[in-house]
């Protein structure tokens, strides 16, 4: 460890200066407005699921900007680096950028946006006041945040891995990657992975045990079903990731031979294991997006969700099938024809329940009264792009086709088609849909729709050329190619597409600023801005910290809609007695454990054993100390709830 580890590269240096400037600005503002105490008490140490959700989403968006800059750097390089021009990135740096892009977009953008959404929506939608384990929730977030900090440290101190986002050995072994980059990769994913696993356990228990009286499983909103399927997947697959990376780190730290080329190691084992995690992982991300659309479409079509049982069945089938398709990521590794054919066909079968979901959404719109708000734009954009992505996905599921298209830019276009068209569109729709419930005002529609058009058109301009490039024999991850290939015009167009998407991201920032400025005009005074159907819309916006003053009783699906139909005046406020409620006290232990995990991660990357041990003991010690803390909850008296609720009701009416 020394100053020599700071890279002398201009791009990295400017990123470093930018990060310092940004951090300085934030810290300065906190001092100037004397907000440190507020930040610590109200946010960092909070166990309120809504606040933890917001923090997840903020980190997710910050990392989205970094991941997008990585994407722009790559496409920029590929647009210029043909023939004699070598572009501006060295091969080694290019490798670090595409590895970081993949890791960031999956672990530090998609996952936090997903867990953020779960935190914001799940408890309220099932009529609960909080998640099952509030402290574990904070701990999960802080482990994730520690990993995110480590990820950004790797940009400026040392190097990041240059091995592709899944780090296939033997390239990721010491023999070929002796630097700290792979160690950063391993420990970042280990720490973030633990956070994801804990969070998934939390939401599994929350959904199974915390539902309001009367809400049977088959009365749950669809978003709850898809969340359930998603977290079950996380619980099953993340231990595989942890074990696989642990074996890789044993190879690197202790000279073992799990995945090395020699001494009986077998890289093919790693490839199988990492995809046994990696394939279900994409379903982890897409299922909640399906769930969000299943809430958005009925709301804006003012009609019950079509084929609820079918949708539940489809989600469960997708959840199960996602475990038996991992091998389709490496048909070209030399498995026999029977094995390849089995996994190919299993993959195609997933298209059936997915197709059914699309038809059910269309049937929900059929004979509805559709209002075209931003979330509905995202939905229609999703149908347009995701269907296309599904088609190219089924193509690649045919091993005979995959032998040709594998690892080409056709593949890159396909999975961005699914991730942008599916996951990103879904989460952005969900965020604009549920935003008013958390912040008390709706987002500006005009800028939201502008951002949507940029994302949609930018996506097509950026990725259609990649499909074509795949047909032209261009593989992924090339930082330079011959001019004679004729690929350059297509790469230039793809680069323009990235600029259009970037404009979409800028428009979203503008949307947020405009909405904050106009927050009084856009105030959600009723708590139900969209004429919603599920319980979260029955409480005021922004949601009180205790969510429900009185836990509602549920008598059917679309619980709030039914309440409004049967008694429009009383709505969700039955004349019941308020009772005392128990709420979790704030605690800084999560922050401390996150800090210790960060110290441990950083120290082990740089082989500072004493510090790593200290970090590890810190984590264990804090957990033990926390388990002896008896005062983790406080009572909110009935009288106080009555007073707060009356105040809210007054504001609402």
């Amino acid at each position: 460890m020394s100053f020599a580890a700071l890279p002398p590269n201009a791009i990295v240096l400017s990123a470093f200066l930018f990060m310092i400037a940004l951090a300085g600005l934030i810290i300065g503002a906190l001092f100037y407005y004397k907000r440190w105490r507020w930040l610590w008490d109200e946010w960092l140490t909070s166990l309120d699921a809504k606040k933890i959700g917001v923090m997840y989403i903020i980190v997710g968006f910050v990392m989205l900007v970094r991941g997008a800059i990585d994407a722009a750097l790559m496409r920029g390089q590929q647009a210029v680096a043909a023939g004699d021009s070598l572009g501006y990135l060295s091969p080694e740096h290019f490798g670090q950028i595409f590895t970081a892009h993949g890791v960031i977009m999956i672990f530090f953008v998609a996952m936090p946006l997903m867990f953020g959404l779960f935190n914001l929506v799940v408890p309220m939608q099932i009529g609960a006041r909080d998640v099952a384990f509030p402290f574990l929730n904070s701990l999960s977030f802080w482990l994730f945040a520690a990993a995110a900090v480590l990820m950004n440290i790797s940009l400026v101190y040392g190097e990041f891995a240059s091995i592709g986002w899944l780090g296939y050995p033997p390239l990721s072994e010491l023999e070929y990657s002796p630097g700290v980059g792979v160690d950063y990769y391993i420990w970042i994913l280990q720490i973030a992975g633990l956070g994801s696993l804990f969070s998934a356990i939390n939401f599994l228990v929350t959904i199974l045990k915390m539902r309001a009286p009367g809400m049977t499983l088959m009365r749950m909103p669809m978003f709850e079903w898809t969340t359930l399927a998603s977290v079950v997947l996380v619980i099953v697959i993340f231990p595989i990731l942890t074990a696989t990376l642990a074996m890789l780190s044993l190879d690197r730290l202790l000279g073992m031979h799990f995945f090395t080329s020699d001494f009986g190691g077998n890289a093919m084992m790693y490839v199988n294991l990492i995809w046994a995690w990696g394939h279900p992982e994409v379903y982890v991300l897409i299922l909640p997006a399906f769930g969000a659309f299943s809430e958005i479409v009925p709301t804006f079509a003012k009609k019950r969700l079509f084929g609820y049982s079918s949708m539940v069945a489809a989600s469960i089938v997708i959840c199960f099938l996602s475990f038996v398709v991992w091998l389709h990521h490496f048909f070209t590794m030399g498995a026999g024809a029977n094995v390849n054919a089995f996994f190919g066909i299993a993959t195609m079968v997933i298209a059936i329940p997915t197709g059914v979901k699309v038809f059910n959404w269309l049937a929900t719109m059929y004979r509805g009264r559709i209002t075209f708000t931003t979330p509905m734009y995202w939905f229609l954009g999703f149908v347009g792009t995701f269907t296309l992505g599904g088609m190219t996905g089924v193509m690649m599921a045919v091993p005979g086709i995959d032998f040709q298209m594998h690892n080409s830019l056709f593949l890159v276009a396909h999975f961005h088609n699914m991730v942008i068209g599916g996951v990103v569109f879904g989460y952005l729709a969900a965020l604009s849909f549920w935003f008013p419930k958390i912040f008390g005002f709706t987002l500006d529609e005009k800028w939201g729709i502008r951002a949507f058009w940029c994302w949609l058109i930018g996506f097509f301009v950026a990725f259609m050329p990649l499909y074509l490039l795949g047909f032209m024999g261009a593989t992924r991850r090339l930082e330079h190619y011959d001019a004679s290939t004729g690929w350059q015009p297509l790469f230039i167009v793809a680069g323009i597409g990235v600029v259009i998407i970037a404009l979409g991201i800028v428009f979203q920032a503008v949307q947020l600023v405009v909405s904050i400025i106009k927050r009084h005009e856009y105030a959600d005074t009723t708590g139900d801005p969209w004429d919603g159907r599920t319980l979260e819309w029955s409480i005021p916006s922004p949601a009180p910290f205790y969510n429900f003053a009185i836990i509602p009783a549920v008598h059917g699906r679309d619980a709030f809609w039914e309440m409004k139909q049967s008694d429009p005046i009383v709505q969700a406020r039955p004349a019941q007695e308020y009772v005392d409620i128990e709420l979790p006290c704030n605690t800084p232990v999560g922050v401390y454990i996150g800090a210790c995990a960060f110290v441990f991660g950083f120290a082990i990357v740089w082989h500072m054993w004493w510090l790593a041990l200290l970090g590890f003991l810190g984590v264990v010690g804090l957990l033990i100390a926390r388990s002896f803390d008896e005062n983790t909850e406080y009572i909110l008296p009935a009288a106080e709830i009555a007073r707060l609720d009356a105040a809210y009701t007054q504001k609402t009416i």
């Binding site: 390239l171 026999g336 005979g400 040709q404 047909f471 032209m472 004729g486 297509l490």
Partner: protein, 298 residues
């Protein structure tokens, strides 16, 4: 809606402009996968077309229905029927579970057959006896050894037209993927493993070959030329290479294996026999008497 329309019209115009520019600039470019030069690539092209057509049976209705329904049932069209509580219809649900199922059954059957027919390990049916070429992926170049002719080349491979080429592929490097898009199918090149790939070129021609799996910083320069020659040209090429006095033995191999990228084409007139097995078996230590690992029976 009006601002939205203006923004969207503008962006659509930009997109159309870009696509036309693209079409103009890429005129005369070889779209290799749609322009197959051998039976494997041809079969794969047909498979791509079949799969796309089958899926359009679902995709087209989805697009049409989405557009029609979204338009007809917009909130402002109060003449359209409105049935807020209509939430299931078993008959129609059976239809849309069944249609995709039938399509996948069809495609699944095709998949089963073609996966066997196009298995890279399966020798091709031909009356002509195949040429065997051993391939070693190195950091970052391709070594080709012709055990039948005792010659070796770097970043250049030649074979006779209309003759099955039987590739034995390994690596002395991180994982790579051996790919000649114009001829079809790729297969991983892995250290300590020997994979197989069978290809055939219909006519004489020159094709691009490359690695399709990221293997480190020299990856972009890891390219080779694949040339299919008439039988006479191939024979005289082999004879010409054999005239070259350079010897390719384990010493020379170890030098070649040192990392380099964009490596120029090289020819060796005398390749030491058993070199390929030497490379594969390097990774068998400490049990260097173990047989070569072949992934599965052919």
């Amino acid at each position: 809606m009006s601002t939205m329309s203006r923004t969207s019209i503008f962006l659509v115009l930009v997109a159309v402009g870009l696509v036309s520019l693209l079409a103009h600039l890429s005129g005369g470019i070889d779209i290799q996968i749609l322009n197959p030069q051998g039976p494997i690539a041809l079969e794969q092209k047909r498979l791509i077309i079949t799969a796309v057509l089958l899926m359009l049976i679902v995709v087209v209705p989805v697009y049409v229905l989405a557009a029609l329904i979204a338009w007809k049932y917009r909130a402002t069209n109060t003449d359209a029927p409105y049935t807020p509580d209509h939430d299931h219809d078993q008959r129609i649900e059976i239809v849309w579970w069944t249609i995709p199922l039938l399509i996948i059954l069809t495609l699944g059957t095709i998949t089963w057959k073609t996966t066997h027919a196009l298995d890279p390990f399966r020798p091709l049916d031909s009356t002509v006896s195949p040429v065997t070429i051993q391939v070693v992926a190195l950091n970052w170049k391709w070594l080709f050894i012709y055990p039948e002719y005792g010659i070796a080349t770097v970043n250049y491979v030649a074979f006779p037209e209309d003759t099955p080429v039987s590739f034995h592929i390994t690596a002395d490097a991180p994982m790579n993927s051996f790919w000649i898009p114009s001829l079809g199918s790729q297969i991983y090149a892995m250290a300590g493993m020997s994979t197989r790939l069978h290809l055939l070129a219909d006519q004489p021609g020159t094709y691009h070959g490359l690695s399709a799996n990221w293997s480190g910083e020299g990856f972009s320069g890891m390219k080779f030329i694949a040339q299919s020659l008439s039988r006479e040209d191939f024979d005289s090429w082999v004879a010409a290479v054999r005239q070259i006095s350079s010897v390719f033995d384990t010493g020379e191999y170890d030098l070649l294996a040192l990392p380099s990228s964009h490596t120029p084409v090289r020819y060796f007139g005398h390749a030491q026999p058993g070199l390929y097995d030497y490379v594969v078996n390097k990774y068998m230590q400490p049990h260097d008497t173990m047989p070569v690992r072949v992934l599965h029976d052919e």
